[in-house]
């Protein structure tokens, strides 16, 4: 029987209280949201927090998807199932539903949260690539107030984020931009598995040319998921097979996959190229139709 090591348990009744508890209890305290990354790590003693602060009572404060002021704002305690079901997100960013359909399985999606997914910062996590491709920013709150951090700066390394000891992620903000299209492509060994490789892509047209692009890969980099050179290769050119092939090749060249039980590094690099190419094609079709 796998059970976590003993800890003290507290429920937060507001974001401010959660932050005050983190401050008072110090670095041995951890927040628990869906618990679907943290509890398995605690069972394996990969994490041994002395205090767990349960933020699930903050549903009314932190579970929301709101369109306002040219943004879609997603609360940190929004569950995967809510993200999957959201018509607002599906309408503005088809990449979101495509990725969510392939994240874990329905019972896991009923618990796992956006905040937990991003803060876990697993290199194979999918939503980080989605939000990075879309140019989203995160909102981090501490007792001194809020700060806004881009997805690139949010990810400091595998399992490391910009969120400080006594801070929490409260929101993700995704800009709404016109003439855009997006898509997600993922290869995994079976339903419910993490990615062997995945690519998230967003394109915005400026007249007949690509005006802006976001390309972010999952499971093929220990850290740093945006493919800047690949993005640059598209900008100022019409969306074409030739441009996509060039960008996809750059994305594959710049990634740094590891050989593991999901496959050898060169196979994953091949996937990075092919998946980026396919996602670019579909994102461009959507941008042209928008």
């Amino acid at each position: 029987m796998q059970v976590p090591a003993p800890f003290d348990y507290a429920r937060a009744s507001s974001v401010d209280e959660a932050i005050a508890l983190l401050e008072r209890l110090g670095p041995e305290a951890r927040l628990v949201a869906g618990g679907h990354s943290l509890l398995p790590m605690m069972k394996l003693r990969l994490a041994t927090p002395e205090h767990l602060i349960d933020i699930n009572p903050l549903e009314s404060e932190l579970n929301y998807i709101r369109e306002e002021g040219g943004l879609v704002r997603i609360g940190a305690l929004t569950r995967h199932r809510d993200v999957l079901a959201s018509e607002v997100l599906a309408r503005h960013y088809p990449i979101v539903r495509e990725a969510e359909e392939l994240i874990a399985d329905p019972p896991v999606r009923n618990r796992g949260t956006v905040g937990g997914a991003l803060c876990q910062a697993d290199p194979s996590e999918d939503l980080s690539a989605v939000f990075a491709a879309l140019g989203a920013v995160t909102v981090i709150r501490g007792s001194g107030g809020e700060r806004v951090v881009t997805m690139e700066d949010f990810h400091e390394g595998p399992y490391e984020t910009a969120v400080g000891d006594a801070e929490m992620l409260v929101e993700v903000r995704v800009p709404i931009r016109e003439h855009g299209g997006s898509a997600y492509e993922k290869v995994k060994r079976r339903t419910g598995d993490w990615a062997t490789a995945a690519s998230g892509v967003a394109l915005w047209l400026d007249g007949a040319n690509v005006g802006a692009a976001g390309i972010a890969l999952s499971a093929v980099n220990p850290t740093g998921i945006r493919s800047t050179r690949a993005e640059q290769a598209l900008i100022g050119r019409p969306p074409s097979e030739e441009a996509f092939a060039e960008a996809a090749a750059l994305a594959a060249e710049d990634c740094n996959p590891a050989t593991d039980q999901r496959g050898p590094a060169d196979y994953k690099r091949h996937l990075a190229q092919e998946l980026t190419h396919r996602a670019l094609r579909r994102a461009a079709e959507r941008a042209l139709a928008s």
Partner: protein
């Protein structure tokens, strides 16, 4: 700590460590062995119960996190001496052999039919995709859920 959870409509209280997982709270603290427990790693789905009507893997939820919520287990499927249509369906269509995955499968089926009374086979497949059956195979499980969808009203009547 003292933990009170509404299980199958009744508040149940027991003393348990904060680290107690919901599956063990149900099985060991409350003595309700209907909920099975297999992989311990949120992969197999044997431990699925409904929390506020939604399937959840109870090996990956603390019992303390379920306080104040409604948990439904396989023991709560039967009502007033009548099997739930899902239970009938599993009997009629041979939806089980060893029965290890069955409590979780039936609860997921119940949750699906509550929100979508006439699901397609694909919708049933997606719903049970987080749960593993190692002996019956999924075809009969899908048929069992279909049976419940088609006969639900007569059976409950």
């Amino acid at each position: 700590m003292q933990i009170t959870i509404t299980v199958n409509g009744e508040p149940r209280t027991a003393e348990a460590e904060p680290r107690t997982l919901l599956v063990h709270f149900l099985r060991d603290n409350l003595g309700m062995k209907g909920t099975h427990w297999g992989c311990d790693t949120s992969n197999c789905g044997a431990c699925v119960v409904l929390v506020d009507g939604e399937p959840v893997k109870s090996c990956t939820m603390l019992a303390a996190m379920a306080e104040g919520h409604e948990v439904r287990t396989v023991e709560g499927l039967e009502r007033d001496g009548h099997l739930d249509p899902v239970q009938q369906g599993f009997m009629e269509e041979h939806g089980l052999q060893c029965g290890f995955c069955t409590p979780g499968m039936m609860l997921t089926a119940r949750a699906l039919l509550d929100s979508n009374p006439n699901p397609t086979d694909d919708e049933i497949r997606v719903a049970i995709s987080g749960q593993i059956c190692r002996c019956t195979g999924y075809k009969n499980i899908i048929k069992s859920v279909r049976w419940a969808a088609e006969h639900g009203e007569e059976v409950t009547a």
